[in-house]
Symmetry: C2
Subunit: 240 residues, 2 copies
């Protein structure tokens, strides 16, 4: 099933931008009268019929709307410090999108080695992963923010922080916390630190602000693997 | 913690090959008398002291042995069809190694688009992932085999096949099957099909041979994401 994306769907009509129009006509060889599937990135799938196969702006009429298409029964924000190698961050984001993710927040910790973050490329990857995995909603990439500001502004109902500090702070298995508090529709935020972990001040601030300290088991995981493992724990808890 | 690898550890002595010797001396700047950590790839961590800092073959004496270093409480074989893009197979293998994996079997299905598989590069990736995630055992890369031959030869005590065929074969959530049958030390094999799924004959043969048909939830996952999700389900079941 091939899915197109459009920001311009209203009054029962849909227009594809130049890139999507070219893909629709030249690559997929669609013609006037063909039925196509279009997502709005907000969660709805539209079944449309092409009325004007213009190479720069395909125009289609909406035949059917399916809200919450490919939706998941939770709201998940992943606040993850950018990795030194941005490919690793991008594959985490792609895989998390396939599983079910709502918001990615690039957070910069006191010990983060990488402090700049360019969202454009990541947004393209999330759009294509959403289309590929048949989801109407594309995860939102928030503006980069410091770990402290994220902790102070996070309004999720279930907040978790994955930190090391072995022996210092008692940490619970992420799956136990989900079993207890992960009811349908829960808004969840999970904070994943940089390669050098959080600073003591950041971890203390998170605990003061209601973040549950969790661990992801005995394996030493890279930042992106830890982040994906947290998403997998949420996905497996809610969807299996 | 920096870990080196050696195939040559016996009679209380350890020799590093040329590549590991260069890394040990030039990159890590170790000298005669330094203590280093060496894995044998079979599961044991050796604490050694360098006696001869020869640039081509560092010689060290073994001070301490830790068997089952970084071991996991299950034995997991992942039989996964090679993906069209081999990077995707390699990252699955790297992440699965960080979590805990024993054997990767590249299986070629009737509908596999990619039918050749070169293990050398993958073996290097698994070794470096094992060192990085502090595991004494490096997963074994089996020789490529057809899906049918794998099904007929697999001797794991818990065998699962992730197939699509929506509606045709009743499939159980992988986590339910693990909860029922995933006791400590269980030998588990999970078979993951190619992009085009298994043929009906392959799926039928698997069922005849005791493979439990499982699903990984509602999301449409790429081959490598499905394979990693299965490893995560095993890891989370046993280790959290």
């Amino acid at each position: 099933m091939e899915v197109f994306f459009s920001r311009d769907i209203r009054f029962g009509r849909c227009t594809l931008d130049e890139g999507e129009s070219a893909h629709c006509l030249r690559v997929m060889r669609h013609r006037q009268g063909d039925e196509i599937f279009v997502i709005d990135g907000e969660g709805t799938l539209y079944t449309c019929r092409i009325e004007d196969a213009s190479p720069h702006a395909v125009e289609a009429v909406v035949l059917k709307e399916e809200p919450d298409w490919g939706a998941h029964p939770y709201f998940l924000q992943m606040a993850v410090c950018p990795t030194k190698n941005s490919d690793r961050y991008e594959w985490f984001a792609e895989k998390a999108t396939e599983l079910g993710l709502d918001v990615i927040v690039p957070v910069i910790g006191e010990r983060s080695e990488r402090r700049v973050f360019k969202p454009e490329r990541l947004e393209r990857i999330l759009l294509s992963a959403s289309k590929q995995s048949l989801k109407g909603a594309v995860p939102f990439v928030a503006a980069p923010v410091s770990v402290k500001d994220f902790i102070l502004s996070c309004d999720a109902s279930l907040k978790m922080i994955c930190c090391c500090f072995e022996g210092e702070t008692p940490r619970r298995p992420v799956s136990d916390v989900l079993r207890e508090s992960g009811t349908p529709g829960t808004s969840i935020a999970i904070l994943i630190g940089p390669e050098g972990d959080f600073s003591r001040q950041e971890a203390a601030l998170a605990l003061e602000n209601g973040f549950v300290p969790v661990h992801l088991g005995p394996s030493r995981l890279r930042t992106e693997t830890a982040a994906l493992t947290a998403v997998e724990a949420v996905y497996l808890h809610y969807c299996l």
